[in-house]
Subunit: 225 residues, 2 copies
Amino acid sequence: MVQQERAERTRQSLMRAAAEAFAEDGFVSTTLSTISKRAGVSNGALHFHFANKHVLAQAVEAAAVATLRRITHDAEQRQDSALQRLVDATHGLLGSLERDVVVRAGFELTGTAPRREQAADLYREWQRWTRRVLHTAQQQGELADGVSPAQACAAVVAATVGFEVLGAKDPTWVSRRTLGQYWELMLPRLAAPEHLPALAPHGSVPDRNGHHHPHRTNRSSCFGA
Amino acid sequence: MVQQERAERTRQSLMRAAAEAFAEDGFVSTTLSTISKRAGVSNGALHFHFANKHVLAQAVEAAAVATLRRITHDAEQRQDSALQRLVDATHGLLGSLERDVVVRAGFELTGTAPRREQAADLYREWQRWTRRVLHTAQQQGELADGVSPAQACAAVVAATVGFEVLGAKDPTWVSRRTLGQYWELMLPRLAAPEHLPALAPHGSVPDRNGHHHPHRTNRSSCFGA
């Protein structure tokens, strides 16, 4: 039992080390010995857990998919309003991108040649959920007249993917503040007027630290001087 | 003179071959001999033009930057309305992503580890221009009350980057139709009501073929079944 726990801990630290290396240097440039060194584990131990780099990448992607599913599931449990679910899920997703290198690496692997083709498609998963929740919003009368779920889905998915990609270089893009301002812009267009006052663009739950992220140095050209 | 022309043509076909390889396989996986083979040129000729792969990547990025600047410059020449300039420039940009592998590769190199850090920053260039044009829109009274240029800039830049990244896997995302629907959603929120009727969400100029792109098979989860 103790041995199993130790094995699981080693497995986790290998995945974390791999995620860090993939996120920083990309999949192709990362070598297995970089990963084992980062994790403080022997090459033999690495090979015991993961046959090769692709298997490691698949494990990182699967963990990122699991996190994404937990985020959308949590948003569904907490909220009756479909639009608020969507707002909360985007905050959960961008928060996890800021906090969790495994999620960041999962998206990096999804969006990047040459792994793009075989990768577990985090983008596709996110699109499907977003489209579903926007259909529910329409059925519940939450969408403004003339706004279609497909159109809203495309706008929101494109923006969240953009936040993710831009956030890899400048974390301002995945901050709660930036995303809250995004929803302040979007909700008056997407929501039926009678639903708008109840919606919280900065999310209906405080983030993990119980407060909004402190204001960062804004290096992005959209925000900065 | 004839020899110079031939040299320039070889240089162009090497850049094109490199862009194709970078866009498909990523920078790291691409070898110089793949590029020379694709271009139908000897390794020696390649080395005559480009000392190494980084120099080739820089040339591809510089060409993509030049195209981006031509697109924004054209939009500025053609339009008095700042918001229409922005709409037209996004159509120009996504059209060039669909059509021109050099632009596609330029963005791929900008957005991707490990080149991300040293790459000519196409995203930054695009952000600066977008912010400037939205400031002009504000000064000209084109923006709706309560919409800030920074907030609109972040939303538009994130969405266009997202369209670009998602478009690498599924061209529906960079189609004129998808972008037109995006602006149909956004303009009623961004534009002052008196300016809205004059704005053309699908762009004020026809695309290069003189018509909108034919409807494609929609594989994207936002659009498809």
